[in-house]
């Protein structure tokens, strides 16, 4: 068979009939849009919560508990400030990436692929950094607990803190690792393959 015959058959294929009623179409798309908006709102809410609660807890900690060692106290304050600024930077970058991706959906395929690959690569970098920093953050929390509580309340409270920290950090770390392996890594490979194909002559 000749390619021209196939091209002619392609041109004659019937188009599916659109929904007769626009309300049906709206009902089809609206639940998924609502679900996505809800997820986005949950994520934004979680970031807002962390950004508000972290400094509030830090301030309360420094206000009401008396550190055992003054030098340790100053070091912990500086580390808490650094962690908060890092969190702020991460949230800012994430919002920027989300907006860039929304805009790139309207752009040509090459621009979209470039932005999408860069966004996934940046998210992977952030995830790796978060996983690498996790022991440091856990150490900071324990150091903070030790500096403020151990002298006054003994090791039992310190142990409880360490337990709570592990109970939160382990599932969150596992979820991040799974997201990295299941979504981010294959996603980046897919966009890199598209970009390679676009670069080929």
């Amino acid at each position: 068979m000749k390619l021209e015959t196939l091209e002619a058959a392609w041109g004659q294929q019937p188009a599916p009939a659109p929904a007769a009623d626009f309300a049906i179409l709206r009902r089809t798309v609206a639940p998924e849009l609502r679900r996505r908006s809800r997820l986005l709102a949950y994520e934004a809410g979680a970031y807002l919560f962390v950004l508000l609660v972290y400094p509030a807890f830090s301030l309360a900690n420094f206000r009401w508990f008396h550190p055992a060692h003054a030098l340790l106290f100053e070091g912990v304050v500086a580390l808490h400030l650094a962690v908060f600024l890092a969190l702020l930077a991460y949230v800012g970058r994430r919002i920027g990436r989300h907006r860039a991706l929304r805009r790139a959906g309207l752009a040509d395929v090459r621009s979209h692929a470039t932005v999408a690959a860069a966004a996934i690569a940046a998210e992977m970098r952030d995830s790796r950094a978060a996983l690498a920093l996790a022991p440091l953050l856990a150490g900071l929390a324990l150091l903070s607990g030790y500096a403020n509580h151990a002298g006054a309340y003994g090791w039992r409270l310190f142990g409880l803190q360490a337990g709570v920290l592990l109970a939160i950090a382990l599932p969150v770390g596992w979820a991040c690792w799974r997201h990295y392996r299941v979504n981010l890594k294959p996603g980046l490979a897919r966009w890199q393959a598209v970009l390679r194909e676009l670069e080929e002559g």
Partner: protein
């Protein structure tokens, strides 16, 4: 041109169902996959409608959004199940049915074997878009589009010669 995003989306869905269906069939082979990608593209078009400015032809714009969405699409079993449930409640808006014509089924199968960018190029070419329009959609130069399409069509023509033996 429609003056509200909602009206624009309705116009796109009314005027370009064939375009969306062809993109879906070229990128999603299975029936469940087709429903999934079809809905993804509708959602992408819905979300993109407010940003549409009359700087390009509407069909070019729809192709860009649909192809970007198709390239980004990845089947997810969980989401796929959720959407099947959704479509079961809304049968009027399920994805396109597979082509009846065996020649078209064969052609879609060959298109699906191509790498994603080549797949997009041949899809646009079969829809009779010119090199300049394809270049605008893909971000390639018109000359590059011409060279690539020539190569893809040569491969398809060679494969088409075996069509009679396969059927």
């Amino acid at each position: 041109m429609p003056d509200t995003p909602e009206a624009l989306f309705a116009a796109i869905h009314h005027d370009y169902p064939g375009l969306i269906a062809r993109v879906v069939q070229a990128f999603a082979p299975g029936p469940g996959d087709r429903d999934d990608l079809f809905q993804e593209i509708l959602i992408a078009l819905w979300q993109a409608a407010p940003q549409f400015q009359d700087r390009a032809r509407l069909s070019t714009y729809v192709y860009r959004v649909a192809l970007n969405c198709a390239l980004n699409w990845q089947r997810s079993r969980r989401r796929y199940r959720q959407k099947l449930e959704l479509f079961a409640a809304q049968p009027a808006e399920a994805g396109p049915a597979p082509a009846d014509d065996p020649r078209l089924r064969w052609l879609y199968a060959r298109i699906h074997e191509l790498p994603p960018v080549d797949r997009s190029l041949i899809l646009l070419s079969l829809d009779r878009l010119g090199y300049d329009a394809i270049a605008e959609i893909t971000g390639l130069s018109a000359a590059n589009v011409g060279v690539r399409l020539h190569r893809i069509k040569q491969r398809l023509a060679a494969a088409a010669e075996t069509f009679d033996h396969e059927t």
